[in-house]
Amino acid sequence: MNISKSMKCNLFAASIAALFLAVCIITPVHAKANSDAVKGAQKWADNCARCHNMRDPKELSDEYWETTVNHMRIRAGLTGQDARDILAFLQASNTPSEKEIEKSVSINQFKSKLSGGDVYTSSCVACHGSDGKGALPGTPDFTNAKGPLSKNDEELLSNIINGFQSPGSPMAMPPRGGNASLTDADLKAVINYIRTTFGK
């Protein structure tokens, strides 16, 4: 049977359409409505810079981030799970710092249940990189003798708790690195980890 070139093209297009319809049918709608802000930080770092400069989470309210992340899901070809995780990170990172809400006592002082390495891997590595030199443009270099580690622990802890705008960086680090569940003890542990791993 002779099939014309045009017919072949149409069959090809119809096959692709059929394949995707099949995917739609067999994949549960909105599979799991869960979200993970920690994974979201890494996905945010991996995806947003594919096209544009990283936008500061504090630029928009939680509600506006919802519509904006939906728009970015279409533009960047993100999965629904990627979009939910990134949204969770952005919404966790745009909350006011404890200084701004005049919280006189910082959140709990309990002993950290996480190692400094665990905290760094889950909440810091997306922007600061596994080598501490910064994975995103403008992120300060921990290995630089005049960099952030030239400050004392008290100042570093305050900067991490409240968020910090590094000179020359296009955006600020969010309070607690965007992970509100980290305790002060966790942050002290990660400062110790950063000093011993990257400090000179």
């Binding site: 909105h30 810079a49 096209c51 519509t67 939906n70 728009h71 279409i74």
Partner: protein, 416 residues
């Protein structure tokens, strides 16, 4: 005596209690005021929360830019003011309407308005979204994701990636978009079916005779389909590891001549009676690699108009008086439009400055329209989305008439 003592004690006790009671009353008043203020604050927050407890959500984004250009051939002028508002309207978590329209001023003080895209997006599941309406062409990356002024690292589009170039602009139809992981690698995709492009042709004198040549592939998404056959295509993107994205694109369809001019776009228009169907094919490839403060990006696109099923005929009784060519052409000159660019951007550490270098080239079937473009730029980031750009742009045409053009450009771009 005992009675007198008791009286004294009672008086002393009263003297102590009265000020304390007065002080306590005052404290009570303060506390009451504080509680009242807190109650009002809670009510206000509850109202705010109640207004957010809705199924729909609205957000306006967009971008705007102001430009100044001074070139060899034209007097320096503030040559562009534009704003492109983008409206997002979502319903629950499964539907979004989004539209962008671009408004810009013209050299004579007028205003141009264009609908860049308007689509209803249905999130079918975690991996698939159906986009219906007018959407930016998913062929390549620059047109669909990089052209907004606050995203584009340079001021101009690369050669061949603007209007009338090699890269398709937009499409009207249906599109499936989304992403899915393959093991550790992430991928994204976009496939569409739409009305497809049309063609603009020009009649030119050629070796003592006349020829009809395809001047331009018109790829702005339209709401009719003169050839009656749908075009389809898409892009597949692969992200093997963080920082690297590689994409391949292709499109296929048919196109007919819908606009014709005697002697190019500035000549009198010729009224078309019939046109054959011409093969339309586009292929593209793109990459992006980011490492710390450095970003490298490149893209290639080729659009080809192939053999037609028939020639083109004009309404013979409606030809311009000064038109001397024939009203019927059995053969039409077709061809290929090719464009590519390479771009490097480096953000200088501990500063807000970014250096940009870009080289690009457009090749068309027409002498005088081919050119290469080199751009050197310095950007200052007031914020990630507020950027001042300084560009020195060098264009080199294949025609001596256009020759070389050097332009100094300044732009203030704001993404909101």
């Amino acid at each position: 005596m005992k009675k007198a003592k008791l009286k004294v004690h009672l008086m002393a006790l009263t003297a102590v209690i009265l000020p304390v009671a007065a002080y306590a009353d005052k404290e009570d008043d303060n506390l009451k005021e504080q509680v009242d203020a807190l109650q009002k604050q809670v009510e206000r927050l509850e109202n705010v929360a109640a207004t957010r407890n809705t199924d729909s959500s609205f957000h306006m984004a967009g971008y705007g830019a102001v430009e100044y250009a001074d070139s060899d051939s034209e007097v320096g002028a503030f040559n562009k003011v534009m704003v492109a508002p983008i409206i997002h309207y979502t319903y629950k978590d499964w539907l979004m309407f989004e539209t962008e329209f671009e408004m810009s001023n013209t050299s004579d003080g007028g205003t141009e308005l264009a609908l860049e895209y308007a689509s209803v997006d249905l999130f079918l599941n975690d991996s698939v979204a159906l986009v219906a309406g007018k959407f930016l062409s998913p062929i390549g990356q620059f047109r669909q994701n990089l052209h907004p002024s606050w995203i584009n690292k340079a001021i101009s589009a690369p050669a061949g990636f603007g209007h009338g170039g090699a890269a398709p602009l937009s499409e009207t139809g249906l599109q499936l978009r989304g992403g899915f992981p393959i093991g550790e690698m992430r991928t994204n995709y976009a496939f569409y079916i739409g009305n497809g492009p049309t063609l603009a042709a020009g009649v030119e004198p050629h070796e003592g005779d006349y020829e009809l040549a395809i001047e331009e592939v018109e790829t702005e998404g339209r709401t009719d389909d003169p050839d009656g056959k749908k075009s389809f295509g898409g892009r597949l993107g692969f992200l093997p590891f963080s920082g690297l994205e590689i994409g391949i694109s292709a499109a296929k369809g048919k196109a007919t001549v819908t606009d014709a001019f005697a002697g190019g776009h500035d000549g009198p228009e010729l009224d078309i009676e019939s046109s054959g169907e011409f093969d339309y094919d586009a292929i593209g490839a793109d990459f992006r690699y980011g490492w710390k403060n450095l970003e490298l990006r490149g893209e290639y696109i080729k659009t080809e108009i192939g053999k037609g099923s028939a020639g083109v005929t004009f309404h013979s009784d409606d030809l311009p008086e000064d038109y001397l060519g024939p009203s019927e052409f059995d053969d039409v000159e077709t061809g290929q439009w090719k464009a590519w660019y390479l771009q490097a951007a480096y953000k200088i550490p501990s500063t807000s400055f970014e250096v940009v270098i870009r080289t690009s080239e457009l090749q068309t079937p027409h002498f005088g329209e081919n050119y290469s473009q080199q751009t050197v730029g310095l950007n200052y980031l007031f914020a990630p989305h507020v950027i001042a750009k300084f560009n020195y742009e060098m264009k080199d045409y294949d025609s001596l008439i256009a020759g070389e053009q050097d332009t100094v450009k300044l732009q203030l771009a704001y993404g909101f």
